[in-house]
Symmetry: C2
Subunit: 442 residues, 2 copies
């Protein structure tokens, strides 16, 4: 059981120079340096919890500053009291009377809250000696519900409906858990076709992925239509007609443009178009979804959907066919639980966003919980996977046969190797000092 | 004409201890310390521009940190080139490939962009020797349009439609400008009925406001229904049946709760209910608007509506009858121009949010421009006014007969008195040191 006051909270700016090799490049984010604001909390008993939120480099220091601003709400709190009334603690961090003006529940302050809350969940799971997914799977429905702030979503999901969903899903839980431990959760790969990769690299990576057993592939699109046609054709020819292809525009288009552009790619049979337009444009997504449905292409979005209120509306307006939760954009497990339950209520499959740094490590826990204890289904479901930066974690993801194998160590898989975190500190870690010395970065 | 490179950008954290007297208190923000992130830019020619964004105290340092992160995109840029392609500069600040992950265009990073861009607009207006409203009123429609980023709003407003609106509004511009110079722009007051004020204070302030000629009053509601009924009754009795009363819940309710609660206040004939629920809940606002329309109560929102994409949807879904733009939440004049033009297209009146610190000084310019050069109408229109903290500005607002009199000094009225800014620096200004010494704050 988790107990004792939280006596320390430290936060650091850890960046990886991924832009040097165009890893993670897309139509809107052409040169990301995958980074995290990395939080470590410690109780008076000496137990530690690790949390992070993902960023793209520049501005990570702003999130660090926001975590520092939140720290006064965390230090001195009793960890047992936090988890016994987690809903109140969530609201304390996200609805402070002065700080909420900076959001509310969006942007930098929500990213910071996510990092802190992720550390608390890691602490809790470690204290229970369970991986986070198992902590959630074993938790009473009433207790799970008590972690969720239902403010602003009761018109879509009441506490009672949420409880009913969880109670109903108890049937077959053990069997599904066994299934996951044996087979893992199905994944797709985004590693082959970043927008900055030349065709030759795309081909090599795709061959390699096919040989490793991958059957679902995502291609970045949206910068140039002819490039998109050429790259989609290349990939579709390599993977054949039966495997799955998805496309991702990373918010590049306006509404009409999205419909027109995607219509030109229909011959490559994409399962979904991801982030066709502004992540804030619920009605725009709904219009695109309606126009593309006859073409058999669904709309997917969520990695920049900033809170449960936005997901609620995307579901209410039938704007998406795939819900892409993110472990570090939303307010940690607390807010993701709300979204998983709303998705189940609306019967829309969840296909988490991952990649970056740490996102795969974290989100696998949430989607395992979703399958075992909420949706009970794998139909039209898969979790994103990107093959980068796992080596910096003490418990990196394990992929077998293109599936996420359930983590077994206690916690939320959030802990980074000390040496990695230290060497990649920005701006004074060894890696960055060397890059500046060799003039590879300014 | 504005010219020369921008050579300096400074930013500071300026806070006023308004929470000590419950000024600005509402159902969600019970103890605000009105504050600004205050930006000063300077060109090589020595011209200065002042900008700010408004905050509620805690966390202002996060916005300061975000302004510092943006400063590398500003320093060294030629001011003439900026205003000659202002759309590109807007996008540079709001869509940086690494920084946009922290928004995009929302929360802390958008507030920071607003502060910086407000300073650029102030600089431009000063260089032209005109108050900002006059700079805008005199500007060619083509030039005005070139300041707006139309990304994500073309399904609601095209460049051509925007141009047509501006061209059509040329008729009668001179007459409307004269009218404003003589009579001013109609205002309403929020100073009487903050939620933390006891009834006696409310009565005194209301008497005073009536004697000064105010005819439109706003009451904060949403914390306790019986309090609301008592306070609304008190105010309605004092002002009589013909003057205007508005109510403001500052996001306190869920959707069904909002409809039920407001229905209980219908006897006091509020013109609008402001911020009934989450600022992100477009569909929720639409549901509330639909339910309350038969009661003759309109929905108003906008002070926490984070960008033009959200306003677009509020308009598209008929979710509001009053558009409340904010000079410091949206991306400065650039983004507010987009919203004013969309509001005109959808024929919804604009009633700006003001108050706080500096918001009245800034937004009066935008609403003067709206009347003279966009909407040409005063029907159902008024600008919020709150009687606090104006003494800290070098060109404070001038109110006559409950109307904003057009500013005459060059610029955007954004400059604070040096002494005020210095004494209220947080945490080391004299005011804060004294408050800590006397133990009135920690």
């Amino acid at each position: 059981m988790v107990k004792g006051k939280i006596t320390k909270l430290s936060v650091s700016d850890v960046r990886f120079p991924t832009s040097l090799e165009q890893h993670g490049s897309d139509a809107m984010h052409t040169d990301p340096d995958y980074s995290v604001a990395y939080v470590v909390i410690e109780t008076e008993g000496g137990l530690k919890g690790y949390g992070l939120t993902f960023t793209l480099g520049k501005g990570t220091e702003i999130v660090v500053c926001a975590v520092q601003a939140l720290s006064s709400l965390v230090i001195g709190k009793d960890s047992e009291e936090i988890v016994n009334d987690f809903r109140s603690f969530y609201r304390l961090l996200t609805s402070d009377g002065q700080m909420r003006w900076l959001g509310p529940e969006k942007g930098v302050v929500q990213l910071a809250a996510a990092a802190v809350l992720n550390a608390v969940w890691d602490l809790w799971a470690r204290a229970e000696g369970k991986p986070l997914w198992k902590l959630l799977v074993d938790m009473d429905p009433e207790k799970l519900i008590s972690c969720i702030d239902f403010r602003y979503i009761t018109d879509a999901l009441t506490e009672k409906e949420a409880l009913d969903i969880l109670r109903k899903a108890r049937d077959g839980k053990c069997k599904r858990e066994e299934h996951m431990l044996k087979e893992g959760y199905p994944a797709y790969t985004t590693s082959c076709a970043w927008i900055g990769y030349p065709d030759e690299q795309l081909k090599q990576l795709c061959s390699k992925a096919l040989s490793e057993g991958w059957t679902r592939f995502k291609v970045k699109v949206g910068a140039d239509l002819n490039d998109d046609i050429r790259r989609c054709r290349l990939l579709r020819e390599m993977i054949g007609p039966d495997k799955t292809l998805m496309i991702d525009a990373n918010q590049r288009w306006d509404v009409a443009e999205a419909i027109e552009w995607v219509s030109r790619l229909v011959e490559f049979k994409p399962l979904w178009i991801e982030e066709p337009t502004s992540p804030d444009d619920i009605l725009g997504h709904a219009a695109i979804a309606k126009a593309l449905a006859p073409l058999g292409i669904g709309v997917a979005t969520g990695e920049q959907c900033h809170n449960r209120v936005m997901f609620k509306q995307l579901l209410q307006s039938q704007a998406l066919r795939f819900v892409q939760i993110d472990s570090c954009r939303l307010g940690s497990v607390n807010e993701n639980l709300a979204v998983l339950l709303m998705a189940e209520k609306f019967q829309v499959p969840v296909c988490p966003h991952a990649g970056g740094v740490g996102l795969c490590e974290l989100v696998q826990h949430l989607i395992l919980f979703d399958y075992i204890a909420v949706s009970g289904s794998l139909e039209n479901r898969m979790c994103e996977y990107v093959d980068h930066l796992h080596e910096h974690f003490t418990n990196p993801v394990v992929i077998k046969n293109a599936s996420y194998m359930p983590p077994k160590n206690p916690g939320y898989s959030t802990e980074m190797k000390d040496d990695s975190a230290k060497r990649h500190q920005f701006p004074d870690g060894e890696v960055w000092r060397e890059l500046r010395a060799s003039r590879r970065v300014q």
